[in-house]
């Protein structure tokens, strides 16, 4: 493309954007001469250049617009329609420019419609009022003219939105104006004068209209005396114009030509420069690293200078990439104005912190999401003006856009004081779309509900308007923001408004980073997120403490949650490293958003300027890293992403909360219940465990009291001889060298057995999942208890070792002599409990059949097997105990069989529920005595009945 044309396009598009903004301002403040002059100048420049480049369409449009603005500049009253028309013209100019950029020629077509309207406007509304149709060449123009003439009709009415004054056909000829402006300083060295309120004179106002508008106009014009010049002759007006120009010239001279000092640089050139600087930084780092090793190097001095210069160069180049966020906001006032008209709502848009700078790439990417969000707020965030008044809110809705830096991030907030989001409406929308079930919704917090706003295809608008409500939007907004590593959050309160917070990281190519080491590997942590470094040291008071295995650090009377980086990265620390680091760890106090936590690392080296290089696509999914870099010594290291750590931490916490929630739900049938286990060692290092509920007591016996009789070890215990049993593979000789011997006492009825162990390690409550079933008798299997593999001891295996008849005794001390072996069905999904209860029940005189599930039990029924008693667990995966009991309730074969519930839950509702389902009794899972007793009662009842 022609360089000149390219230049023109870039410049013109920019100018038009400025005009857009300025016009909206001007509409609200028609007396501001400075704004008008600025607009005029820009349009004039466009017109002039068009003529030079031979672009007739653009030229004539710009000319017509300029003429109308000339009128305003000259004191004609500014109307909303007039501004709309100029804005429309600007849109048309942009359209033409777009085609021009693609095809390098102006598109075919005519702008007579607009030009006619503009001319008509310039000539005065009187003319428009008298012969509007004849001038308008097409329908569009006719409509616009109608509006124009409509306004004319309203002129006499005092209630008008905008200060409106009757205008008279131009008394200053276009040529004069043209000449005046050519004489004026060119656009390049032109600096807008200070507001000159005296210049905006209410010229030629017709008396009645003046009277009507006076009260509105008066407060704006600081020198009402000037109004007296209303009927001044043309000559005098020209003198005023001359004076104005003179003033402008002097001001331009005194202010100096600041604008001259900017030049346009191709973005690509800048990017390339950035890359080169990055490389330079790397090389400098390498040199520094080399020189560091030689203490008295002659390179030291020059290198220091090189280092400083590089740093400054880097900073300078970085600056070129930074742009004020206001650039992304430029179009918003115009958009809000148009919306305000089309929605018939008065909207106040406030923009705070437009000067906040951010990387231009990032800026480009957030432009559209921002526009969309502001549009959303205006359309369905804010109520209609009348509704607002009814609600007792200020009539004009307000949208506040603000931006500021916070900890290496840019925070952008879009806040409206509108109706907010009604949780109930939101719920019904979610249901309507089938995004969640009612049940799920009931469990959700408000925050979770509001997240649905960002769901694809979700819209809260009641109806589709031209502006929004199509449901394309917020999810796209979120996606776009997340693409650049940002986050978007929303809070809303009904009746008060909605607030969106966007956080965008300043992803710059070069960052200062802390080099740390963990498990022998080095990593970089961006300095921006590091608040401070703490060295743990017992004496200094900084000690890592534990709350239920959660490490924390007391820091200035606050508890800082700690995260071990090696665990987060699944890095193993060698014994030596653990020992070396013990008590001397470094805690990097890190802040991510509002979250502060400490990252525990082994050592901290130094800070280094690193060039962030993007990670390979294959590594992108690892959220713990944001990139990688080459260090001064040439090695590659990964850059830790504090956001990733924070997410992991939060995710962990979330998972825990979810587990906790499930526990509270009491519906966790798929989760085994926590079992309290006694963990001990016997014979080997291997941890072993038995359910604590089975153990009667823990005892230490004097080794000398152990007697050997009949090939068995016995000890006197509570006046009786208690046999001691060693675990399989345990050498009884082990007992010899000790003075006391710890034993676990198991008691059943009046008999006790002592199980010989080496050491009681711990008592742990854990969800017991037998991962590996054992083939070895005496061991039920292996489970992970507190992260260690632990063997579960089958007590039933050892009981007969103590008393041969333990399991076959039939005689009980009570009077009921139960000769008959009753058939009992035990239904329990846990192999552990089946194995534990089977011998117990067997020893109580039952013939036990086992079933691992309700389905399995029902299969037995199908086979025609009949039981005298059924004992069933309540919580089972698949068919629950309750369901199982309900199935049996009216069964011809099993319906009469007493069924006893076994559960670890003792909530009254569950007991009630189980009774309703048909359970005769309800017994706690670990209440062995209770079970046996209950069974006996049921039996007695049965025998008495028979």
């Amino acid at each position: 493309m022609d360089d000149l044309l390219q230049e023109f396009l870039t410049e013109t598009v920019e100018s038009l954007d400025v005009v857009d903004v300025e016009l909206v301002k001007f509409e609200q403040d028609p007396n501001n001469e400075e704004i008008l002059a600025n607009i005029f100048r820009l349009v004039h420049t466009i017109k002039g250049t068009c003529g030079f480049l031979g672009l007739p369409r653009l030229g004539s449009l710009a000319h017509a617009a300029e003429t109308l603005m000339g009128k305003y500049r000259d004191g004609s009253p500014v109307t909303g329609d007039g501004v709309s028309l100029i804005l429309e013209t600007i849109d048309r100019l942009k359209e033409i420019l777009e085609v021009l950029e693609e095809q390098q020629t102006e598109p075919d077509g005519t702008d007579d419609d607009l030009i006619a309207l503009l001319d008509q406007m310039s000539l005065g509304d009187e003319a428009a009022a008298t012969e509007p149709q004849s001038v308008a060449p097409d329908a569009e123009a006719a409509v616009a003219a109608d509006i124009a003439s409509g306004d004319m009709a309203e002129v006499d009415e005092p209630i008008l939105d905008i200060v409106e004054r009757e205008l008279k056909p131009g008394e200053v000829s276009l040529d004069d104006l043209e000449r005046a402006f050519h004489e004026a300083p060119g656009p390049d060295d032109f600096t807008a004068p200070e507001p000159e309120t005296d210049i905006v004179t209410a010229n030629d106002l017709q008396e009645p209209v003046e009277a009507a508008t006076e009260p509105q106009a008066a407060p704006v014009a600081p020198e009402p005396a000037e109004k007296k010049s209303a009927d001044k002759p043309v000559a005098e007006k020209r003198a005023v114009a001359d004076r104005r120009q003179k003033e402008r010239r002097t001001e331009a001279a005194s202010k100096g030509s600041v604008k001259n000092q900017t030049i346009r640089v191709n973005v690509e050139t800048l990017e390339q420069l950035m890359t080169m600087v990055s490389e330079l930084v790397l090389t400098r780092n390498q040199l520094l690293e080399m020189v560091r090793k030689h203490d008295d190097s002659e390179f030291k001095g020059p290198l220091q200078r090189l280092s400083n210069v590089t740093a400054e160069l880097q900073e300078g180049v970085m600056k070129t990439r930074m742009q004020p966020i206001g650039n992304a906001w430029q179009k918003l006032p115009r958009i809000v104005r148009d919306l305000s008209l089309s929605l018939d709502k008065k909207i106040d848009l406030e923009m705070i912190g437009a000067e906040t700078e951010l990387d231009r790439q990032v800026l480009e990417l957030i432009k559209d999401p921002l526009t969309h969000m502001v549009r959303n707020s205006a359309d369905h965030g804010l109520e209609a003006n009348s509704d607002r008044v009814m609600l007792g809110k200020p009539e004009i809705g307000k949208i506040t856009l603000s931006a500021y830096h916070e900890g290496g991030q840019i925070i952008i907030k879009i806040v409206d004081d509108g109706r907010g989001i009604d949780a109930e409406k939101l719920k019904s929308k979610i249901l309507e779309r089938g995004l969640a079930s009612e049940d799920e919704l009931d469990r959700m917090s408000e925050g979770q509900l509001q997240k649905f706003i960002f769901h694809p295809g979700f819209s809260m608008a009641k109806e589709v308007t031209a502006v929004s409500g199509r449901g394309v939007g917020m999810d796209v907004v979120r996606t776009n923001i997340e693409l650049i590593g940002g986050t978007v959050d929303m809070t809303s309160s009904v009746g008060k408004g909605t607030s969106f917070t966007i956080k965008i990281p300043l992803t710059l190519a070069i960052v200062s980073a802390l080099i740390i080491e963990v498990s022998g590997q080095r990593f970089a942590i961006p300095q921006l997120s590091v608040i401070e470094l703490v060295r743990t040291h017992g004496e200094a008071g900084h000690t890592i403490e534990m709350i239920n295995d959660t490490p924390v650090l007391r820091l200035r009377n606050k508890l800082l949650p700690l995260i071990y980086l090696n665990k987060q990265l699944s890095l193993k620390r060698s014994e030596e490293e653990v020992e070396r680091a013990a008590g001397k760890e470094f805690v990097i106090v890190t802040q991510v958003g509002s979250q502060t936590f400490g990252v525990v690392v082994d050592s901290v080296f130094h800070t280094e300027e690193i060039v962030v290089k993007p990670m390979s696509n294959m590594l992108r999914e690892i959220t713990m890293f944001s990139g990688n870099t080459i260090l001064g010594d040439g090695s590659v290291i990964m850059i830790i992403d504090p956001n990733g750590i924070a997410q992991n931490v939060a995710a962990d916490a979330g998972a825990q909360a979810a587990v906790a929630g499930q526990e509270a739900d009491s519906s966790g049938i798929d989760q085994p219940d926590p079992t309290t286990l006694l963990v001990f060692t016997a014979g080997s290092e291997q941890l072993k465990a038995v359910p604590l509920s089975l153990v009667t007591r823990l005892e230490e016996v004097d080794v000398t009291k152990i007697e050997r009789s009949n090939g068995r070890d016995l000890v006197q215990y509570r006046g009786k001889l208690m046999p001691l049993v060693c675990l399989d593979g345990y050498d009884p000789e082990n007992m010899a060298g000790k003075t006391t011997q710890p034993i676990l006492v198991f008691t059943d009825d009046d008999r006790s057995m002592g199980l010989v162990v080496d050491e009681i390690v711990d008592i742990v409550e854990d969800r017991l999942v037998v991962e590996i079933q054992s083939e070895v008798p005496g061991i039920l299997g292996s489970a992970v208890v507190r992260e260690s593999a632990t063997e579960l001891i089958d007590v039933a295996h050892y009981l007969p070792m103590a008393f041969d008849d333990w399991l076959v005794r039939h005689d009980r001390k009570d009077g009921v002599n139960l000769q008959k072996n009753l058939n009992l069905l035990l239904v329990d999904d846990s192999a552990f409990f089946r194995n534990m209860l089977a011998p117990l029940l067997g020893s109580a005189g039952y013939h036990v059949t086992l079933a691992a599930s309700g389905t399995e039990a029902l299969a037995l029924k199908e086979r025609g097997i009949v039981f005298d008693l059924i004992v069933s667990d309540i919580e089972m995966p698949g068919m629950s105990g309750i369901e199982f009991a309900e199935k049996l309730k009216f069964d011809p074969d099993w319906g009469e069989t007493p069924i006893i519930a076994l559960s670890s839950h003792a909530e009254p509702e569950i007991i009630e529920q189980s009774r309703e389902a048909g359970f005769h009794e309800y017994i706690g899972k670990f209440d062995r005595e209770g079970l046996v007793e209950t069974l006996r009662e049921v039996r007695v009842g049965m025998e008495e009945a028979s």
Partner: protein, 158 residues
């Protein structure tokens, strides 16, 4: 895999392959895809990465992602002290290094003598093999470099 078939119809063209040895097996890589061959030095392991990624290293200012070909092909890991080299490959403006045991010769092979993959080939191999070439004394497995690099999220995308 349509590429080699298309070449089969084309009578006579030759293609050049760099041969590499991985766990005793001879593989061929299209020479057009091979940028360079380098020794593995100062490689940094990447925690949490998939096992196929041996690590990242600095090759003349570029960060190269090293792919452990033994892991990729499901072969036993290299024994302690066994030499390893890396073949530099570029894809989508990213640099990769395929970690192999040894580098062999460059062979000119007639395209129309390429054999299709045997149907009973291990699926993991089949996925990355574009063809087999029968050398006099052994078989040469011609690798499809793009497929070899279909790992991690690329794999999902593919």
């Amino acid at each position: 895999m349509s590429e080699p078939q298309a070449r089969n119809q084309n009578n006579g063209p030759m293609e050049e392959f760099v041969t590499v040895i991985i766990a005793g097996q001879l593989f061929g890589l299209p020479i057009s895809r091979v940028q360079d061959v380098f020794m593995l030095k100062d490689m940094t392991e990447v925690p949490l990465a998939i096992p196929e990624i041996a690590g990242v290293l600095n090759l003349r200012g570029r960060i190269v992602t090293a792919i452990d070909m033994r892991e990729r092909l499901g072969l036993p890991p290299r024994a302690e002290g066994e030499t390893a080299m890396s073949v530099g490959i570029e894809m989508d403006r990213e640099s990769f290094g395929l970690v192999i045991d040894r580098i062999g010769d460059v062979l000119h092979l007639p395209v129309n003598e390429f054999d299709e993959n045997p149907v009973n080939l291990d699926p993991r191999w089949r996925k990355v093999t574009q063809a087999i070439f029968m050398l006099d004394n052994q078989l040469l497995v011609l690798l499809d470099v793009d497929r070899v690099l279909e790992l991690g999220d690329r794999e999902v995308a593919a």
